[in-house]
């Protein structure tokens, strides 16, 4: 069944020349939280996630002619969001840590010292972006492999391989930093 967003986009596709800003605004407001949430899982910085959410919708707006209503809007938006996030990861070597003012649903484990968290963040930031995105979504965020695969446009088997390679590299990196996982 097609959702409301799919109907709006199908209208866009039919009438490429005249795009109603009101319709796009409705679509944006309906899905901005979901896209932001997905983006935040990858980049882990609310300000960056906001900017990349806007970039995602801009790409959606430009690519509306290629939208397939049968696939549903959310999956399509998530795929575009993942590509935007991947582009950002490629251009930013990031050390992952929680911003102090972010109300994270799960606080960091008090048994893990700040030093270990910092080293894990450094190691994660050194991973190649394709492996980093797979590890973040599948391991840290515990998203089903099927959803991760659909979002980053690879097979479930390829997700498993990337997660395995990411963990192996992380382990080696942490050992070199003096942590024995």
């Amino acid at each position: 069944m097609r959702d409301g967003a799919s109907c709006v986009l199908e209208d866009f596709r039919r009438d490429k020349a005249e795009i109603s800003d009101a319709a796009f605004e409705a679509l944006f407001r309906l899905h901005q939280r979901a896209v932001f949430g997905w983006m935040l899982r990858i980049v882990r910085d609310p300000e960056v996630a906001e900017d990349l959410t806007i970039e995602t919708f801009w790409r959606i707006y430009r690519a509306r002619a290629r939208f397939d209503p049968d696939r549903g809007f959310e999956g399509w938006a998530r795929t575009i969001a993942s590509r935007v996030a991947l582009d950002w990861l490629r251009s930013h070597r990031t050390m992952y840590e929680l911003p102090a003012d972010l109300p994270a649903p799960v606080p960091p484990d008090p048994e893990i010292s700040a030093e270990i968290r910092r080293k894990v963040g450094i190691a994660l930031g050194r991973l190649p972006p394709k492996l980093r995105i797979a590890a973040l979504l599948a391991v840290v965020e515990e998203q089903p492999h099927k959803e991760v695969a659909a979002a980053i446009g690879i097979s479930v088997a390829a997700v498993k391989v990337r997660v395995f390679r990411a963990l192996r590299i992380l382990r080696k990196d942490l050992q070199e930093q003096g942590i024995k996982p």
Partner: protein, 73 residues
């Protein structure tokens, strides 16, 4: 890496970086989106830049064409 090693590194990763879960968006991004769209509409298309670059190149190689161009402007 064996399964035990894989589980340990997964556990360490999750302990060090807790999941963001369903973190809430704290503001409406639509005004920023509108600004983004307006800026893109205002920006000249790429072929305008290409034309300007070609013209500048032509003028650089044939400076005598400047009076002719100015006459037609």
């Amino acid at each position: 890496m064996n399964e035990l090693g894989e589980d340990r590194i997964k556990k360490l990763l999750k302990q060090a970086l807790p999941p963001m879960g369903e973190a809430e968006l704290e503001r409406d991004l639509w005004p920023d989106m509108l600004r983004r769209m307006d800026a893109a509409h205002e920006a000249p298309p790429w072929f305008d830049w290409a034309l300007a670059a070609a013209l500048a190149g032509f003028v650089a190689f044939v400076p005598m064409s400047i009076p002719v161009l100015l006459y037609y402007l």
